[in-house]
Every structure is written in C-alpha cells, then in structure tokens.
C-alpha cells in the first residue's frame, strides 16, 4: 500500500469525438480506479449505441427508419426525458433549436463543402419541424418518410452527466470527464484546487481562456468547427430551420452550470440566435457564459472576469 494519492488519466474516443477521463482518490479510500474507468467507458459505449444516428440499432436509427411507416416506437423514460428537453428547447427558442433539422444539413452538404441548391433546401424544409412529430406517452413516430431526429449533441452532454453520476455513486470525490470539449467535474483536482479547464479559441488551436470548475460543468457550442463558403460569404454549420439558411450568429458560446446537459442546451440555442438575441437568451438563463462574436469580441460574465487584453 502506498500513501500517494491514486490517479488515473485515460484518453479515448467516445460519442463521436475525443474523450478524456481523470480520477483522483486518496489511498485510504481504496477505490479501484481501473474498474471505475471501465464502468464509465462501458456506460459511454452504451449511451453511444443507444443514441448515435450512425449506429443502425440505436433508438434514434430505429425511429428514423420508421419515419412515415405508421409504426410507433416505444421509448424508455430516459429517451422520453431527452426528447422532452428537445421539445422544451424548441419551444423556448421559438423553433430555432430543432432536432429534426437533419435534412437541411444534408441539403447544404457541409462535408463536400459545396453550396446548396435552393430547390433542395425548399424540399428539405418540408421534412423539418418538431411540431410535426407524433408523440403520445411512450410512443414516438415521425409522420413523413425522410424525416429524422438527431440527439447527438444532447446525448453527448447527457453522457458526461451520467458518467459523473455513476462516479459519484461509486464514492469518487475528484474526477473530470471531457467529451469533445464539454467538461463535467466532481470536486476539486488532485492538488485540492478547482479543476482548470481551457475553452478552445475559435481562431486558433490554443485555449481562449481557462475556467476553474468544482462540481460544475462547462459546455461550448460553436460555429467554428466546420465552416462553409457560399457565394463568397462564410457560414457556420448551424442552420436556422425556419429559413433553411445557416445562421449568422456568434462564433462560439460557452455556458457553465451544475450539469453539462443544461449548460450545453443553453449554449447551443445561443449559437442559433443572432448575437443580439443570444445576449437576451443568455441573460434569461442566468448562468455564467462567454460569447465570442463574429468579429472576435468576447463578452459575458466569464469574459468580464478576464483581464483586458494587453
């Protein structure tokens, strides 16, 4: 038995992006960190299998395959709660946040980097709209063939919260989970100070700034990751489902909350708004936030706490 604190750090791929897991434990607690990490990774794999639209057996793929078939899909309480949050976000954002906007994304075909055909956009818009879904208690159905839902963003942040919850249940007092830039934490880092977490700089590869987290989570939503050119103009990859066009909103928004899912939901909706409306939305949420505008200007309670650039 050693008296040194136990530490585990693992890097891996999960929920469609890079992941990092750190756990610290005092030696007297006698935690089996490898076993805990294994449980966390199993949980992440389970959630990915359940919610990824790239896995044919996921509940999302099943719902999407049955679009327009008239066959309702039974959904469990967990999926119901995630879909309920999606519905509440759609409502609160005036329809900007919409997990059915997949067909529009395909019309713009960001991967090819090409421009969109306006007629394609119009026909895609017919397949988009949360108000069209059919949902009664535990039965869910998409009414038109070609419609689809995407729970990817919410599921990733939910996975981070679930990992934290599982580790808390295993009496872990110090841990960090990072899934593609979204971070959730338990307690403080190994030296007893809050976890220092970097927010990615939209203009470069470095960190925009560091926030310190203790039993809190931060999520960042941005338009910087994948951008497209259209008739000489640069657009982000987020699309306004009502116009069918990419939004000209902030470059990135980071939000801090007790849970990653709620932080991520607020940040994602903020990025779909114009910068002015994003401000109002973030004020309403009343959580600490940081916004980087299209001109590179930083604002929000987190930015205000940073020293002025020299």
């Amino acid at each position: 038995m050693t008296d040194r604190p136990l530490r585990l750090e693992q890097h891996f791929k999960s929920m469609g992006g890079p992941a990092r897991l750190v756990i610290n434990a005092p030696p007297e607690q006698q935690l089996d960190l490898d076993k805990i990490a294994h449980l966390v990774r199993t949980l992440l794999e389970t959630l990915e299998a359940r919610y990824s639209r790239y896995q044919v057996e996921s509940i999302v793929s099943i719902i999407n395959r049955r679009a327009g078939s008239g066959v309702f899909t039974e959904i469990d309480p967990e999926t119901q709660a995630l879909l309920d949050l999606a519905g509440r976000l759609w409502d609160a954002s005036g329809g900007l946040f919409d997990i059915t906007s997949g067909p529009l994304r395909q019309a713009w075909d960001f991967r090819a980097g090409g421009s969109a055909d306006p007629t394609q956009i119009d026909s895609a818009r017919l397949l988009v709209g949360w108000e069209k879904i059919e949902w009664q208690a535990s039965s869910f159905h998409l009414p038109t063939p070609g419609m689809e839902i995407d729970l990817g963003g919410l599921a990733k942040e939910y996975a981070a919260d679930s990992a934290i919850s599982v580790m808390r249940g295993l009496k872990v007092t110090s841990a960090l989970i990072e899934l593609a830039g979204d971070v959730a934490t338990i307690g403080d880092s190994e030296d007893g100070t809050p976890w220092r977490v970097g927010i990615q700089d939209p203009d470069g590869v470095g960190s925009l700034c560091a926030v310190q987290l203790s039993n809190a989570a931060i999520a960042t939503s941005g338009n910087y990751a994948r951008r497209i050119d259209h008739e000489g103009k640069q657009y982000g990859h987020l699309i306004n489902p009502q116009t069918g066009w990419p939004v000209e909103g902030p470059i990135s928004v980071s939000v801090l909350d007790s849970h990653c899912l709620t932080a991520g939901a607020v940040a994602t909706v903020a990025c779909l708004h114009s910068e002015e409306h994003a401000h109002t939305w973030l004020e309403q949420a009343a959580l600490p936030w940081l916004m980087v505008s299209s001109t590179g200007m930083r604002s929000g309670p987190i930015a205000d706490r940073m020293p002025a650039p020299s």
Binding site: N215, S258, H259
Partner: protein, 79 residues
C-alpha cells in the same frame, strides 16, 4: 430543572435558539447536486416510519417521557 420551574425551561429554549442561530450563520450553501452524501440511508432522521412508531410506542409505554422527534402521535392504550 423541573417543568414547574419555568425560568430553567426558558433558559433552555434560549440556549437552543442561540445554538441554532450560531450554527446557521456559519453554514455555507451546499449545492443541490452536492447532496449525495446527505441522501445516504444512514443520514435519515429515523429508520422508517413504522420502526420509529414501534420503538416510540415501546419506550413511551415503559418510561415517563414522550414526545421529541417528529410528531407526538398519541392514542393507544399501551400501558
């Protein structure tokens, strides 16, 4: 410290009130998601309504004292 001697009792209540105020003023907020340990089974005030009722019943019928934690209940011929 008899009941009839009410000044003692008043002093007791004062002491408890002061204790309470001191304790509460030095308390830091504990975030709702950080209350996992407070939710442990061992942190409950009693070991379940039925067990607490039965134990209270036994002690009350064998000792002169009653009341205290939670409701005083009442209503049984359990002498």
């Amino acid at each position: 410290m008899r009941y009839k001697d009410r000044s003692h009792l008043a002093r007791g209540i004062c002491l408890l009130t002061m204790l309470y105020l001191t304790a509460c003023s030095s308390v830091k907020t504990v975030a709702p998601y950080d209350r996992g340990y407070l939710a442990e089974d061992g942190m409950k005030w009693d070991e379940g309504t039925r067990n607490a009722k039965l134990k209270g019943h036994v002690y009350t019928s064998k000792e002169a004292s009653s009341g205290g934690a939670g409701s005083a209940g009442g209503g049984c011929g359990c002498n």
